[in-house]
């Protein structure tokens, strides 16, 4: 916690500064939880029929949220991709929204 605070002193600089410092961008402007939701919740099978599970990964436009934003691990992102494609085919999730 204490190192967290001292790290906070440096805030106010741009995001780039933090990246240069080589530390995790904690407390940046858009700090997102960088944990894979599926790993954390121990979801082994991403069910394509479970719309409520998939919804957080498709923001307004209906596109699949990239890994760099959602923090999903590669393995689960791949599974998520398949699940979303199937759900789209079944008109559970839109292909596009405008």
């Amino acid at each position: 916690m204490s190192d967290e605070r001292s790290g906070g002193r440096g805030r106010g600089g741009k995001k780039d500064d933090k990246a240069k410092a080589g530390e995790r961008p904690r407390g940046g402007f858009f700090r997102r939880r960088r944990v894979c939701k599926f790993c954390a919740d121990k979801i082994d099978y991403i069910n394509y029929k479970d719309v409520r599970l998939l919804m957080p990964f498709i923001p307004e436009r209906g596109k699949i949220q990239p890994r760099r934003i959602s923090g999903t691990c590669a393995k689960h992102q791949r599974a998520l991709q398949t699940a979303i494609s199937r759900a789209r085919q079944l008109a559970l999730i839109p292909y596009v929204t405008d």
Binding site: E4, R5, G8, R11, R26, G27, R31, R33, V35, A40, K42, D44, Y45, Y48, K49, R86, R88, Q89, L90, A91, L92, I93, P94, Y95
Partner: protein
């Protein structure tokens, strides 16, 4: 040998179709499954549901989910029938046995690792209901609060 594959079949029936016709479609599928010596393990009718986008002027559809066990030939025949049927506006068959097996194995592995570690720490193998667990969320929220305060 390839008889025991598990499939999930989802089909969307046009909303103006009557209850009876939906039931008929189900019996038709059941008959095909029986002809190929397969089994219908589960049938779920989600009822009328809004479609995320229009499919041929339809805005709603009746969703039916069937879990089947059988051969690929059986699925081929069912799909052929569904394509021909006018009331069906969309269908999707997915082979699920392999994925479910992988998921089950992962689940079991995790269970056994947990039990092993817990017994090594002198705890009962299963987590007790009132036990406190390390929670990432809590920490995150606290940091968010600090941030706002500044």
């Amino acid at each position: 040998m390839s008889q025991n594959r598990q499939y999930e079949l989802v089909y969307i029936v046009a909303p103006e179709t009557g209850e009876q016709e939906v039931a008929d479609l189900h019996t038709q599928i059941e008959q095909i499954v029986q002809r190929f010596q397969g089994t219908v393990d589960k049938t779920e009718n989600w009822g009328r549901r809004k479609l995320a986008y229009e499919i041929g002027h339809h805005k709603e559809g009746v969703y039916v989910v069937e879990t089947l066990t059988g051969s690929g030939e059986m699925v081929k025949e069912i799909e052929r029938r569904l394509r021909v049927a006018d009331a069906i506006i969309r269908y999707l068959t997915v082979r699920v046995d392999e994925d479910l097996r992988v998921a089950q194995r992962r689940h079991d592995e995790r269970k056994s690792t947990q039990a092993r570690r817990r017994t090594a720490r002198g705890l009962p193998p299963e987590p007790q209901p009132g036990e406190r667990r390390g929670d990432m969320d809590e920490e995150d929220d606290r940091m968010e609060g600090v941030e706002v305060g500044r």
